[in-house]
């Protein structure tokens, strides 16, 4: 710790020196320049004006940006995601929140096998076996809330594509991408790193893409590696 402490002091001492020189410099320039006093007032007024303008402009820029949610809203998002997840696991389709539904397909398949092909996609899948004697397969794609630091991630990343063809369901993940965001904070992370990370955690909700299949019992569902679903 003490080693680290001393190392961290050095830049501070350097900064101390720089700012000390700066203060001396401004003092000596104001010695030389008579109009300094008048111009000082102008500089200050202009600077404050620019700052206030920046605040207003920032609000204007945001008009087409994302909404910033409060921590409470995040909590409800997380709750709703959990409710969906539980209902999904228990096959309680009636409890699915319709607002998560993105797409649905109905497909008459021939034969008694339905092949699911997952191309690198990490969707969650569940199958409800129906007692129907028909060849009709229903597929529904759901997506729960994903927000992170104010960005709606669902919008940022395209969904995996789902194709239903003959007796195949092909899910293709989107190619690997990298996105960088600049994020600003009003708070001083300097003092309360922990505090800030907490709030960061609280302001994040990560949802999933769900595929819900309704398949008549007599049809076998296999994935391309030959695994069988029951």
């Amino acid at each position: 710790m003490s080693n680290f402490g001393i190392l961290s002091i050095l830049p501070i001492l350097g900064l101390l020196f720089i700012i000390w020189r700066l203060l001396r410099l401004t003092k000596s320039t104001s010695n030389r320049i008579n109009w300094a006093q008048r111009s000082n007032k102008w500089i200050l007024c202009i600077y404050v004006g620019v700052l206030l303008l920046a605040v207003v402009v920032y609000e204007a820029i945001q008009a087409d940006g994302e909404k910033v949610y409060t921590q409470k809203e995040y909590a409800t998002f997380i709750d709703e995601n959990n409710v969906f997840q539980q209902a999904f696991e228990k096959n309680e389709e009636s409890k699915f929140d319709p607002k998560f539904l993105i797409e649905e397909w109905k497909q008459q398949i021939e034969g008694d096998t339905l092949e699911v092909i997952l191309n690198g996609s990490n969707v969650r899948m569940n199958i409800e076996w129906t007692n129907s004697k028909e060849q009709l397969v229903e597929a529904k794609m759901y997506k729960t809330y994903s927000y992170m630091g104010g960005i709606n991630m669902e919008k940022e990343i395209p969904l995996p594509t789902l194709e239903v063809k003959d007796n195949q369901i092909i899910l293709t993940a989107i190619p690997q991408k990298e996105r960088t965001y600049y994020r600003f904070t009003n708070e001083l992370t300097f003092f309360s790193t922990v505090n800030n990370l907490d709030s960061w955690e609280q302001r994040r909700v990560i949802g999933h893409t769900y595929i819900y299949l309704k398949v008549p019992k007599h049809i076998n569902v296999i994935d391309k590696d030959g695994l069988q679903f029951y």
Partner: protein, 243 residues
């Protein structure tokens, strides 16, 4: 013989007006310091990556931390510089006494700290606008004053009280240096001793960490500022003006 009787309040008020006018240049140096800090914080203070659905999200945090460090050091020297001989002598060219001089200095420091705190907070918005204009990166909407007024005011208050505390420390330091030049090294000793010794670490932890809320931290800063100011007044009230 007719004597003018000026009350302490009148004299302090006049001194404050006079000093605010005379020390305006220090506020310009504050702007320079802030802009310097802004330029250094343009690359962000920390970043965080998350992988989600095959996509790496990298969040770069741009905070006011660098600026506040710069401004704090500015505040230290501001508190220090107004106790120096030159400044002290100019004050005593006009009506004043030790108490009114101290009080008006303190009020000037408070006013300047408020200004510095608020502008430091707002200066961050310049980056919010500049960064997306000059960088081709995703732009995250972050809480602004209007979205989250309470936390904005809290952190503004925190900046003000931090700057005030440091300028009060600088004021006390400067007063001690005025009494004896050897105190010059006090600050350097403190900077080295505080993080290096056990007690120093305890003190630092008591002040900066272990806070239930930012409000508590705020109160601690203000209390420290008051302690520094009172000590400085006690030390300097009997001081002579060596004109």
């Amino acid at each position: 013989m007719f004597l003018c009787n000026s009350t302490l309040g009148e004299v302090v008020w006049t001194q404050v007006k006079f000093k605010m006018n005379a020390y305006l240049g220090t506020l310009v140096s504050l702007i320079v310091v802030q802009i310097l800090g802004l330029m250094l914080s343009i690359n962000g203070t920390s970043s965080m990556s998350t992988n989600f659905n095959n996509t790496d999200f990298q969040f770069v945090w741009i905070t006011a931390d660098t600026v506040i460090i710069f401004v704090s050091i500015w505040a230290l020297f501001l508190g220090n510089v107004i106790t120096t001989k030159g400044y002290r002598n100019t004050n005593f060219s006009f009506v004043t006494n030790g108490i009114s001089n101290n009080l008006s200095n303190i009020i000037v420091l408070i006013i300047m700290s408020v200004f510095a705190g608020i502008t430091t907070f707002l200066s961050h918005y310049i980056l919010r606008i500049v960064v997306p204009f000059f960088n081709d990166v995703g732009y995250v909407r972050s809480g602004s004053i209007i979205d989250d007024p309470l936390s904005s005011i809290t952190s503004m208050g925190l900046m003000v009280s931090l700057i005030l505390m440091i300028s009060a420390g600088g004021y006390l330091w400067g007063t001690l240096v005025y009494i004896h030049r050897a105190y010059m090294f006090l600050l350097i000793v403190l900077i080295i001793a505080l993080p290096a010794t056990k007690t120093g670490q305890m003190i630092l932890r008591f002040i900066f960490a272990d806070n239930m809320s930012l409000f508590v931290l705020n109160v601690k800063f203000v209390c420290l500022a008051i302690i520094f100011f009172v000590l400085a007044m006690l030390c300097s009230n009997r001081l002579e003006v060596r004109r």
